[in-house]
């Protein structure tokens, strides 16, 4: 059996009396893409920083690349790539100097580094902007530069904290494409996100985090099969009386959720259920039949929506 790249047991992070990460257990295996899905404040970034050896753990066990990150910080960080939630590029340096200087922090020899910088500029599609100031780049370009920067030391494990938050769909797909390429080349990915689409796109396995705890773990498919049905019928109501309507759909689906403006009916056959709704004489303003997603898993597990 291969040894996990990251192993956490009863891992805890406290800030004063506040418990940000509350006894979580997980393993990340070599070559996989592992995700942390959760709403704001779930403790995703705190977990990533502990793994990245930039935040000491408050309790439990943590091993990264076989050692304790708190004891071997520089050695662990030398083999990691980190894409932080907030870009922290060096605004006093040009695009290419950002990569070059970062490589120097890893002790990469100058000549080798110059070659590496050229490769990374191509990878991030930023070769034409090499001499520009970082602040002149668009959000998507900055994000690509941050990802390129995290690869300068050819990391075995890449930590991506909300890699595509704030990007438009096109920029997001370009980034996903880059991350798929990295994964194919054997890099292990750890991704946090609060987009279920991103988790479904990128992750082989993921944990759903909520309030510092792990609510569920598995592949996106497994989680959907385990916690929700195959399809969902969404009934939207105009007068915001969805909760009051909940009793009227009793028995139409094995499980229902009532949101402020919608009812969600979890069912194996959406079209059949939609027809049954119509037969009862209900008149929602909109009926949508769709496949269940991780968003539904999250709702089922916590009773709350992921992105509000």
């Amino acid at each position: 059996m291969t040894e996990p790249l990251v192993m956490a047991r009863a891992l805890v992070k406290r800030f004063g009396n506040f418990v940000a990460v509350d006894h979580i257990d997980f393993d990340v295996l070599p070559g996989e893409a592992f995700g942390f899905l959760g709403p704001n404040g779930a403790g995703k970034s705190s977990t990533m920083r502990m793994i990245g050896a930039t935040s000491p753990r408050s309790g439990g066990e943590l091993r990264v690349l076989g050692v304790e990150p708190d004891d071997y910080g520089p050695q662990v960080r030398a083999r990691l790539g980190v894409v932080p939630q907030e870009d922290n590029l060096d605004t006093e340096l040009s695009v290419s100097d950002n990569l070059y200087v970062y490589g120097r922090y890893f002790g990469i020899p100058r000549r080798q580094l110059r070659q590496r910088v050229a490769e990374l500029l191509d990878f991030a599609q930023l070769a034409e902007r090499a001499g520009d100031r970082v602040n002149d780049l668009s959000g998507g370009m900055k994000r690509r530069l941050t990802i390129a920067r995290s690869l300068v030391n050819q990391p075995e494990l890449l930590l991506l904290d909300e890699p595509t938050t704030g990007l438009d769909p096109q920029a997001r797909h370009l980034l996903w494409d880059r991350l798929h390429r990295l994964k194919r080349s054997g890099v292990t990915l750890l991704v946090t996100t609060h987009y279920m689409e991103e988790a479904e796109q990128l992750c082989d396995r993921l944990v759903v985090m909520d309030r510092g705890r792990i609510a569920a773990m598995g592949s996106p498919r497994q989680l959907i099969e385990r916690y929700v049905s195959r399809e969902v019928v969404e009934l939207r109501f105009d007068d915001e009386e969805a909760p009051a309507m909940a009793s009227l759909v009793n028995g139409l689906a094995p499980h229902t959720e009532a949101l402020a403006d919608r009812l969600l009916l979890y069912t194996e056959d959406g079209d059949l259920t939609a027809q049954a709704v119509a037969r009862r004489g209900l008149k929602p303003t909109n009926v949508l039949v769709r496949r269940a997603s991780l968003e539904d898993v999250f709702l089922r597990l916590t009773g709350r929506q992921l992105v509000d």
Binding site: F15, R49, G52, T54, S55, P56, L65, G66, V67, Y72, G73, P74, Q75, V76, R77, A78, R79, L80, V82, P84, E86, N88, L89, D90, T91, E92, L93, D97, V101, Y102, R104, Y105, F106, G107, I108, Q112, R149, N153, Q154, E156
Partner: protein, 269 residues
């Protein structure tokens, strides 16, 4: 259990020098891009020397030197300007700059994700300030030899002495930057720095003060640098210099230790 072996092409630079050296390299790269910063640092103390040493020197005439014998005012004040400009340069370099990198530009957030530690960052920033301060001091010594007629070979030792002043105050500057919460806190740094500059026997001998103020000044950090540089530049060294240097070295060491602890808290919460 095996300790992680770095992959080909990635060396974990040896802890003592190589890691901070990469950040010093980064700072030099940035500074090369703004030559006027270098120019002002060189020109400012020379202006002081001209206006105060030579200008006011005409009115004041002579002053008693460390051993009691009278010396021209320019020769009296120049070594004090050497020490104070080493202080001012180092404090300026460290406080604003470091505060910006910590809280606004957030540059260090990226740096601590590499093999560098908060301690490496403190060492590198202080070293960068000291390198610059040393260049200014060397240039000032040359100007001093030309303008105020410094001739003693002892004056050459005033350079390492000024560098030590730079080191001690750069470390204090880094430390203050780590404790500052907003830009207005710089006023508090000025509140310490100004009186040090004005009262450390910079412009007149200690003997003009009442006894209680003399004791206070003798305990202040810049006074150590002023007294040591003055004795050396006037060619009248005494054993007191050892005490002055030890004071500055201890200050530098203490400020570095506190800086490292504080920076670790801020950067790796």
């Amino acid at each position: 259990m095996s300790s992680p072996a770095p992959r080909v092409g990635v060396t974990v630079a040896s802890p003592r020098f190589a890691r901070p050296a990469a950040l010093v390299g980064r700072n030099l790269m940035v500074q090369k891009a703004v030559p006027y910063v270098w120019a002002t640092g060189l020109v400012e103390p020379v202006f002081y020397l001209l206006s105060i040493g030579v200008g006011i020197g005409h009115l004041v005439g002579k002053m008693p030197g460390p051993n009691g014998a009278e010396v021209p005012y320019a020769a009296f004040v120049a070594p004090a300007l050497l020490a104070s400009s080493a202080m001012n340069g180092a404090v300026y370099e460290c406080t604003t700059n470091i505060f910006d990198k910590l809280h606004w530009a957030k540059i260090y957030r990226g740096v601590v994700a590499t093999p560098l530690t908060p301690r490496d960052i403190a060492v590198a920033e202080v070293a960068s300030a000291v390198v610059r301060s040393a260049l200014y001091s060397a240039a000032f010594l040359v100007a001093m030899a030309v303008l105020s007629g410094t001739r003693s070979p002892w004056a050459l030792l005033a350079l390492p002495c000024a560098v030590l002043v730079g080191l001690a105050f750069a470390a204090c500057g880094f430390m203050s930057a780590c404790y500052m919460r907003s830009w207005t806190d710089f006023d508090k740094v000025m509140l310490v720095q100004m009186p040090l500059f004005l009262f450390s026997a910079t412009f007149y001998p200690l003997s003009v003060f009442p006894r209680w103020l003399q004791l206070l000044v003798e305990a202040a950090p810049l006074y150590q640098g002023v007294a040591a540089c003055r004795e050396l530049c006037l060619g009248q060294p005494s054993w007191d210099i050892i005490g002055h240097l030890a004071y500055l070295a201890a200050l530098a060491g203490a400020a570095m230790a506190i800086s490292t602890r504080r920076a670790t808290k801020l950067l790796t919460p």
